[in-house]
């Protein structure tokens, strides 16, 4: 009889211990599957050069999430409207003061159809009056693992007060900027963040949701910094003639392909002259 009681206790413990388990959540939206749902039928970019007129009105939107993912449990990848707007405003605020930007329009992601491609982007371009659209795709992985001493959750009270779940949130965001009328890719920039923390068993879901939003916000801030650098580099490439397919027309109606540069062709003869004067005075 006593053996049965002991065996029953072990079984009960094992069942209760099962309350504490690892969780993995993957939030992912893929730019390629949105823009080119059928890879073989991907539209070719226009051969005509792109002429961007300053100041620009730019649209920004999250790429709609992928429908399925077999490996991990999927959190609903659709962000609440308020969160989505707050995140996109991080980028908008970072670029609002730039004199080449007239306005940055936040496009709600429910206007973007999964696999909509450039046809969908054309609609958005006309609807919001923007030629340039930045598409933000997200790849966020969250995991929550209980520590070995999480058997203390068995005390029930422990599940409420002991933070014995270690969770990790890694976020990678990518913004790709397109000139929609010519279906031309202009530039891209990444943003990333990592958050680690602890939570009690009953707060795991809420904690992971909050850290998901926090991780996205941090990654968006990082993205704004990187995007600013990429824009400078893009402008330099245009001025330097490395991006001959793109020209930027300023407010006065002329190209920005100008700057102050001496160049190696003239700096080297100067060096040569200095050398000659040094060795043959």
């Amino acid at each position: 009889m006593s053996r049965r009681i002991v065996a029953g206790l072990f079984v009960g413990l094992a069942v209760l211990a099962g309350c504490s388990f690892s969780r993995q959540i993957h939030r992912r939206s893929n730019l390629m599957s949105y823009l080119y749902p059928r890879a073989a039928e991907a539209p070719q970019p226009s051969t005509e050069g792109v002429r961007l007129r300053l100041p620009m009105r730019i649209g920004i939107a999250f790429v709609p999430p992928e429908a399925t993912n077999g490996q991990f449990r999927m959190m609903n990848a659709d962000l609440p409207g308020t969160v989505e707007k707050r995140l996109l405003n991080v980028v908008r605020d970072a670029f609002r003061s730039r004199d080449w930007v007239s306005d940055i329009v936040v496009i709600p992601s429910n206007y973007l159809m999964p696999g909509g491609g450039f046809a969908n982007l054309d609609q958005l371009s006309r609807m919001f009056g923007v030629d340039v659209i930045a598409l933000v795709s997200v790849d966020q992985f969250q995991s929550s693992d209980p520590y070995p001493i999480s058997f203390l959750y068995l005390s029930i009270v422990g599940a409420y007060v002991l933070p014995l779940d270690h969770n990790d949130t890694r976020t990678l965001i990518d913004a790709a900027v397109f000139y929609v009328p010519a279906r031309r890719f202009l530039l891209r920039a990444p943003g990333q963040s990592q958050i680690t923390g602890h939570s009690t068993a009953v707060e795991v879901q809420q904690s992971m949701r909050e850290r998901s939003y926090k991780g996205l916000e941090m990654a968006m801030t990082d993205l704004s910094r990187n995007l600013s650098k990429e824009v400078d580099s893009f402008k330099k490439d245009i001025i330097g003639g490395e991006r001959n397919d793109v020209d930027v027309i300023n407010k006065q109606g002329t190209s920005i392909r100008t700057s102050g540069s001496i160049g190696w062709l003239w700096a080297l003869p100067l060096l040569l002259l200095a050398g000659l004067r040094r060795w043959w005075p």
Binding site: S259, G263, R277, P281
Partner: protein, 195 residues
């Protein structure tokens, strides 16, 4: 971190952000851009003596914003970054000073190089061997600014020399850059061997 864009020369300079009149000449797009412009300033200055160098650099603090104002009025650009306009001013001023001194060969070589560069740019072939296309107007203004700098320095040095001659009782103060007085040769270390 303050963005470099806050320092580039743009029309914002005429709307209160006046520091751009100076800083636009100091910010660059990349290291090669900054390096080539720096070489074009340092090398011609290296041919001059210390007082001439100082006189030119002091003049540039006034010449730089004046050049920016002319550029903003005369060129239609979105933003301007680079010290090449100043470099051209230094280049031409140094060449003229060397021509007035005893090192005329170097002065002539510098002047011919400057003329060749301006000619190439005005002919539309200024994009060779440079990652950043140049604004020819900036260099034309820079060349004229170089002539102005030369005239300022010459006038000041003459005035100082005459003042010192009149007041011969007092010990003579060195002129800021006495062009005729200095041979403008590279500094040589005098050897004095005492037996």
């Amino acid at each position: 971190m303050v963005a470099v864009n806050s320092f580039a020369l743009t029309t914002a300079a005429s709307h209160g952000e006046i520091w751009r009149l100076w800083s636009g000449h100091l910010v660059h797009y990349d290291l090669a851009h900054a390096l080539t412009n720096a070489l074009a300033i340092v090398i011609p200055l290296g041919f001059l003596d210390r007082r001439c160098r100082r006189a030119i650099l002091l003049s540039l603090t006034i010449i730089a914003p004046a050049m920016s104002v002319i550029l903003l009025a005369g060129a239609k650009f979105d933003e301007y970054r680079g010290a090449s306009g100043l470099a051209m001013a230094v280049w031409v001023a140094s060449a003229l000073m060397l021509l007035r001194g005893s090192d005329r060969a170097t002065g002539l070589a510098l002047l011919l190089l400057a003329i060749a560069k301006l000619g190439a740019e005005l002919a539309g072939v200024g994009h060779v061997w440079t990652a950043v296309a140049s604004l020819p107007l900036a260099h034309v203004i820079g060349a004229w600014a170089g002539v102005v700098v030369y005239l300022i320095v010459r006038t000041v040095s003459r005035g100082d020399a005459e003042g010192a001659e009149k007041n011969s009782a007092s010990p003579r103060e060195p002129a800021p850059c006495s062009i005729e007085a200095h041979p403008l040769k590279p500094r040589s270390i005098p050897l004095s061997i005492e037996a």
